[in-house]
Amino acid sequence: MTVVASPAHTAATATPWTQRLLRHPWLDGPALSFFLEELNPMWSLVESQARVRAIHRETHDTLSIELVPGWGWPGFIAGQHVGVAVEINGISHRRRYSISSGPQARRRDTFTITVKREPGGKVSNWLHDQLRPGDRLRVAPPDGDFILPQPAPRDLLMLAAGSGITPLMAQLRALLASEHAGSIVLLHYLRSAEDRIFAGELESLQARHPNLQVLWCLESSRDQSAERFSPAQIAVRVPDYAQRHTLLCGPAGFMAAIRQHWDERQLNARLQFEYFGQVPALHPPTRHTDAHHPVELAGRRRHLQVGAQQPLLVALEAGGESPPYGCRQGICQSCKCRKRSGQVRNLITGQVSREPDEDIQLCISAAESALVLDY
């Protein structure tokens, strides 16, 4: 599953030693890293690398990629996601994928991501078509707060749709490996039986762990058995769902229906969820018109609205922000900032930046969608 790292997630993870070495004031870090990379690319101080140990086919459109990370790789907590960078025609495209393996995987020093082929998706298609065991991938450290509270609540309900099962699979593996005593029900909503990611493993886990119950809900079965999420459906499948701590991950529409229902029953405190993209507000304060887009400023936890035709620099200043700037006409790059997600248009060239984690110039970029910016 692809996720977009929400800035609120940036947990205070310690800086990896490779980064500290790279930025050490008495070392020429970039030169050191260059020669280390010449000796072995896995020794990069600039970007962590991982070697592909194995690739498993999960379904017709989903692969699991087992990776052995190189230097400077911190541990992860089940439910977190990692960055993957793939270079296509000279450009590094960055995505974040949930880790599907448990932290207590067979070997402590590997982790697995599970990637669904997205129609037209640059990175997912590249990973499916080009990546081979033994190849190297550039990876960015784990992040994310879709993490079970400690100690884990006793009775759990996991709701997944499609490839949204990936972070839940990591959590399930972690729970079962630590001999979790409470009951766990996993409901996986799927288009059809062929889409059952991790089916074999879930069945064997179920056989070995009587406290685990896995239910597949096939949304497009031709016969009467087709089932989608509804309050009635969940009440039949999991009568005690209101008493369970619930973990939720899937496409936005699916999650909206569930969050709505949990909200109505005032069960929000027992609901944890992870979005593929930006987290939409459950009750939008005002309906924003097409002429305005919400902007979230990473790190500062600020949200504001910007006009769609306005340069972002002007719009942010109108909102009381003071981002760095210089020429205000696209020459000097002083206002360059990282766009974590969303789409902007370059007002001078007309080029559109759609991908997550690209650098944009605030003074000549206008929002075309909701944005997360980091400067």
Partner: protein, 362 residues
Amino acid sequence: MSNLTASRELSPAELEALAAELDALRDSVLADLGERDARHIRRIIRIQRYTALAGRIGLFFGFNPLTWPLAALALGIAKILENMEIGHNVIHGQYDWMNDPRLNSQTYEWDIVGTSANWRKTHNFEHHTHTNILGLDGDLGYDITRITGAQRWNPLHRLQPLYNVLFALLFQWGVALQDLKLGRYVLGRRPWSELRAKLKPIGRKAGFQLFKDYVFFPVLAGPGFLAVLLGNLLANGLRNLWTYSIIHCGHFPAGVRIYSREECRNESRGHWYARQMNGSANIRCGRLMQLLSGHLSHQIEHHLFPDMPAHRYPEIAPQVREICLRYGQQYNSDSFVRQFGSVWAKFFHFARPTAQPELNPA
């Protein structure tokens, strides 16, 4: 082949058409960026790193009459490549589209005593936005050299040919201190506490550079201490001379136009383009020298498109020249010797208190 016929004034409609043509040229290159550009910059980085390594190792052999000069030269060339084709261009954001953290304009730190942060301000912003506007472009004579009659003369200018030799040898320190505008503190217009705060990051960077070249590597060489120290000094000096020379050929040769603030108030994009054309000068030279100049041999192309990967400049130069001439604008291009010679002619000419019009070697 220099085209020093005075440029004609362009109407607002012509300026708009000029901008549209140059925008289209830029867009055609931007649409083509990819693998080839990534390969180019990575190849240059590899060459630069290994040349530096060879130079540093070579200096460890002491004052061997064969290896010492070659090693110092190799290190000097490596520093030139790093400053010009890699550092200057990366900091301009020419490779930001690659999304490679090694080539990011905002985080790249180059091998020179000046900080990248100061350079981004004095060069990318002030110089490239206000190119050749007297009073706004700090690079016009760097506050010490009088290169136009429009600059007020003072008796110290009589010495400018002399102190420019010193400036050339110590050019990296000029780059490091330019943003401080030291005169303001000397004259007491600004508090010393502010200067101290601004000096801190520069001191840190300069300290590291000095430590690296004049303590760490010499000490590592043990008995070869002096050979390494002097070799590094020579390499840094070569780089200073070279960068000074290339940069002074960019905007000071005869025929390059200097603008007043009034002319550029609320200027259009077309006017900005025309100013870059008329305010810059190219050096006609071979492939190797283009590379060693960081493609500032194509200063005109660089000023029109500062964030385009520089190795593309020679490819688009014929089109830029054609557009320039079609719009009746000068395309100032000549050999290094002639351009640099005409810069020095200006140094001597404007050292005297005469406020005459610019020299015209034609």
